[in-house]
Symmetry: C2
Subunit: 260 residues, 2 copies
């Protein structure tokens, strides 16, 4: 075997790849099209470095350029698609989520943990009721969300503590649980009862219930929730309305994951 195979990648190699990806990430709703100068400012790269990466991305078909400005192309989506289509949960969950969304007439989502965040991998809504627009690939802090608490509650204690230590815990609303002891107690409750319920902790008016999705090895591999507006249901009404369809759907998904 080649000698080089035993060496870890050099910093410069990792860095140049990381810079390329940081240029991709710099685009977004506030910056859909950028000049070279804007890309350099957004990424902290020199103009020369930004130019080199942009031209590379253009050559690979991930970025297009008009006279002076650069924009991402839809080819970028194939990277995320590679992840989604390789995730068994992703295609298994959809039909069961449709049932949940139709039964509850609220939006139903599935997310997974990535560091201290949850990342949405599926979202279905039958009626548009919420002002927040959450899409596949969007992220929220795990500790403050129902799906995140389900995912954190499924981790071994040391890992849970490590992630809570790394989280930026702050009061998004007057109801946000910010006390570490109270959060740990909430996670123990979630683990014991098999669901998490979060009422107006992340955003006023927003509440949700989440249940775990468990893979063949018994690991909590994802979480599924239903979210709705707090003025439509009390906490108890929400649990009555959302928990049974969520548990039924999670049961089907867990069984399907076992068979994979």
């Amino acid at each position: 075997m080649d000698e080089q195979a035993h060496r870890p990648p050099s910093d410069s190699y990792v860095q140049s790849f990381a810079r390329g990806l940081s240029v991709i990430r710099a685009f977004g709703p506030q910056r859909p099209r950028m000049t070279l100068t804007e890309v350099a400012a957004a990424t902290g790269l020199t103009r020369a470095g930004a130019r080199r990466i942009l031209l590379t991305l253009v050559q690979l078909g991930y970025v297009e350029a008009d006279e002076r400005r650069f924009a991402l192309t839809p080819r970028i989506l194939e990277l995320g698609y590679a992840y989604l289509s390789a995730t068994p949960l992703w295609d298994l969950a959809l039909p069961y989520m449709e049932e949940v969304a139709e039964t509850t007439r609220e939006s139903c989502s599935v997310s997974v943990l990535d560091g201290t965040d949850i990342v949405y991998i599926l979202r279905l809504s039958t009626h548009k009721v919420m002002t927040i627009n959450l899409a596949v690939g969007s992220r929220l802090p795990a500790w403050a969300t129902s799906m995140g608490r389900v995912l954190l509650a499924g981790l071994p204690e040391p890992e849970q503590d490590r992630l809570l230590d790394a989280s930026q815990i702050q009061a998004y609303t007057p109801s946000t649980l910010t006390d570490r002891t109270a959060l740990k107690r909430a996670l123990a409750e979630v683990r014991a009862q098999g669901y998490a319920c979060v009422v107006q902790e992340l955003e006023p008016g927003l509440q949700s219930v989440a249940v775990p999705i468990v893979d063949r090895s018994g690991r909590v591999t994802g979480a599924m929730n239903v979210s709705g507006h707090a003025n439509r249901y009390s906490r108890e009404q929400m649990l009555d309305a959302f928990l049974p369809p969520l548990r039924r759907a999670a049961g089907h998904i867990n069984q399907a994951l076992q068979r994979r």
Copy 2:
């Protein structure tokens, strides 16, 4: 300004970035987790090269490794999210698509052109009727689909010809339009009538109607369709049922794009 800024990126730089992206793309439903040897085989890289890129991706949080196998992490989704959230069409279209899906009880999608392919950027379904599972980021050949024909019909003639030349035209079903002259005539019709209707050309049983989405500059920037099963509607019934809600929704989306 730095001398280097005037030089195009070196082949080795472009190549290493391209290889990193090819490793990401190598993962998928058939290969959700791969050993080093499998990644090398799937990408045509040497083991040493594949290892270097995998360790880079692990270091950046885009790939995780258990004992011997590598898998993508959900962090990959942030790259596609950068594109989607930077695309005005993407968040504008959703509420109008919901109306179309509810009215027709069929799935409603929006896609854009990427080379000779269409790429799905939005897909909504209220009832699961189709066996094909199309998701955001998935691709289909433009020439054989209703959305693709709307997008091709919106291009200047030379560009349209260039893309048809580059397309792999083949008979997916006995109904597939494979003759170049017939295809060109179909595109001229689509342009004249303002919609495309494709019946069982890509897959037996699948039919769809698509309309153009036009940006501020008058360019066809996307296409929206409704697809359904051919045994549920004749071609005429499908046009009667799908075209009015599609045109209404496209009208709203086009107006909203004008205001951006």
